[in-house]
Amino acid sequence: MDTELLLKVAVSAGKVMTVLLVLSGSVAYLVLLERKVIAFMQSRLGPRRVGPSGLLQPIADGLKLFLKEDLVPAKADKWVFTLAPVVVIIPAFAAFAVVPFSGESFDVFGLTITPWITDINIGVLYILGISSLGVFGIIMAGWASNSKYPLLGSLRSAAQLISYEVPLGLSIIGVLMIAGTASMVGIVEAQRETGWWFFVPQFVGLFIFFVSGMAETNRAPFDLPEAETELVAGFHTEYSGMKFSFFFLAEYANMILVGCVATTLFMGGWMRPFPSVEALAWLNFLDFVHPFWSGFFWFAAKLFLVIFAFLWIRATFPRYRYDQLMHLGWKVLLPLSIVNVLVTAVVMLLMNSGSSA
């Protein structure tokens, strides 16, 4: 067998495993972060019993969920019921395959290892496509539960996800037009070349992306599918144990994904602030370990910002109503994103004709 191919497969498998593990850990600790941050905003303390100031809480939660009895309602459709959480969680994790976590590759035993699993030239489309598969799982869950509240929740969710997919996709178009590529790595490089991160020319795009992203991930104030005060727990009302935790993990993984995409597309990905200003080179202070870590640090820092905004908003706003949500999606965000695309196109056209003349 070709050793080179074997090595390539091994490296890819290793990267996939690493991303999976790190992601699962981040998801678990994101839950803790959310509880802590929101607790802080609500003048409480949050979890602090397990481990030093609650740091081991995610492990305890995971163990608890793992050991819980796995109930399947008697009248549920067993196969679909079991399959649904799987269908939800696989796309949520698979979408991370194209996210560039840092800019610098590093060499191990003569092999160059890139800090992303793969860089395909349709990376953005891949993410949009994969992440919209999750809605099937949600519909399956609601239908298979054979119960009214999950059904209502899953229908709400399906309508919501499909509606917000449209402005979400359109909000990215502006970025793609400026960058001229749909590769995630290419977009970051394009931001280095143009000199500004794309949230400057595309602030409307970022806003639409952020709002639709919040709706896509069922975060407050768009958390209607699982509005606990209305629908008990929405589509996963009947789920327990590991199956429930799959939904839970998928939701938070999706949140991280939206954060990653926002970071990459609008906020310069792994680059430090003002990457062209030499005087600020010390910002890459982790270079002494490896340039990889500097990039990763800045990526994580920006990701944290986005996620913090998510949490902040959750602690502040009441929940939208179903019809108001649809109204916002179709009558406000969609026209706004189309206008944004048009304006971007016109401005680019004018600038190009100006430079060529």
């Binding site: 609500q42 209607l224 706003f317």
Partner: protein, 373 residues
């Protein structure tokens, strides 16, 4: 036109959904049988009785002083008002006049309890609509009031604080100072809730024009309290039939205009401010003196009947007692505001979405202990 109209060819079924008795937003054990078409409510039937304890019948076998702890358990969110109403009824029946100081302390307690009750309402109402932080802020301040109550009577929820003819104990030393401290801190806290809600666009969208009820309809159904005043009818038992020493205090009765959920919200917010005003005046003019009139331990009222009502945070709380001359009431009847207010729910719900139902349960501010008795 020969254009196919898909909406008319699609058959939709009415789905029946049970909301409660174990549902996070029915505030107790209320069960609603909702008939929904998609997400639109076309019918709503409240089913009550899950908390029925036969209180009225129970009272017939208890002597008059023994009934008071039972009144605590009617509307457990504002037990002080229940206590005051029952005391007032018995005192009217027996012709007992209460010392001034006791009356003042009672008013202070009842008004503090009104704030605590409205805080609980605001917190849960906001939580139902999805504003989670307000809930915890409200409980933070409610805690301060409950601490004051605990210091006064030892209990935090079922106070059993008053006695026929006055009070059991005077205010503990230093209590008025701590109460003033609360009065000083509280307005800033209320501003915090209002900052989060009053002009919040989502909050406005969720509450404006939701559950509109006109003044006449509200009177017909028998709504009282803030739910009635939100529709513009300024009926407040404290002003209409003054009891205790309310005549001596200056306060306004806020009313709404549109009779929607938002107006009822504003009315309750303003009521909390008015309660602060009353407490402040009561503390300023708190007289010295005895706290309890001479009342025989074995109370035997003359034959007769009496109706006495007070303004609880939820509305008119009435007590009707028939005495046959023995030491036990012959018949006891409680007029709970929650029960009457709940009657408006089916009318309010129809035509709104499922998500609004929880907002409407919240805006009526029912307590199931008071509905079922």
């Amino acid at each position: 036109m020969t254009v196919n109209e898909p909406a008319s060819t699609l058959d939709t079924d009415i789905m029946e959904v049970n909301m409660g008795p174990q549902h996070p937003s029915t505030h107790g054990v209320l069960r609603l049988k909702l008939k929904i078409d998609g997400e639109t409510v076309v019918g709503c039937e409240p089913i009550i009785g899950y908390l029925h304890r036969g209180t009225e019948k129970l009272c017939e076998s208890l002597s008059y002083p023994m009934v008071e702890p039972i009144t605590d358990r009617l509307d457990y969110v504002c037990a002080m008002s229940e206590n005051l109403g029952y005391m007032g009824a018995v005192e009217k029946l027996c012709g007992i006049s209460v010392p001034e100081r006791a009356d003042f302390v009672r008013v202070i307690m009842v008004e503090l309890n009104r704030i605590a009750s409205h805080l609980l309402w605001l917190g849960t109402h906001a939580l139902d609509i999805g504003a989670m932080t307000v809930f915890l802020y409200c409980f933070r301040e409610r805690e301060m009031i409950l601490d004051l109550f605990e210091e006064f009577c030892g209990a935090r929820l079922t106070y059993n604080a008053f006695r026929i003819g006055g009070l059991l104990e005077d205010l503990p030393p230093g209590w008025t100072g701590r109460c003033r401290q609360f009065l000083k801190v509280y307005p800033a806290c209320q501003k915090e809730y209002e900052d989060l809600l009053t002009k919040n666009r989502i909050w406005l969208k969720r509450t404006k024009g939701i559950g509109v009820i006109s003044g006449e309809e509200a009177v017909e159904i028998g709504l009282t309290g803030p739910s009635l005043r939100g529709s513009g009818v300024g009926y407040d038992v404290r002003k209409a039939h003054p009891y205790s020493v309310y005549k001596r205090f200056e306060f306004d009765v806020p009313t709404g205009e549109n009779g929607d959920t938002y107006d009822r919200y504003l009315v309750r917010m303003e009521e909390m401010r008015q309660s602060l005003r009353i407490i402040e005046q009561a503390l300023d003019t708190l007289p010295e003196g005895p706290i309890r009139a001479k009342v025989p331990n074995w109370l035997k009222p003359l034959k007769g009947e009496v109706y006495h009502s007070v303004e609880s945070p939820r509305g008119e709380q009435g007590f009707y007692i028939v005495s046959d001359g023995t030491d036990k009431p012959y018949r006891m009847r409680f007029r709970g505001p929650s029960f009457a207010n709940l009657q408006a729910l089916p009318q309010l719900c129809v035509g709104h979405l499922v998500a609004d139902v929880v907002a409407l349960i919240g805006t009526l501010d029912i307590v199931l202990g008071d509905v079922d008795r």
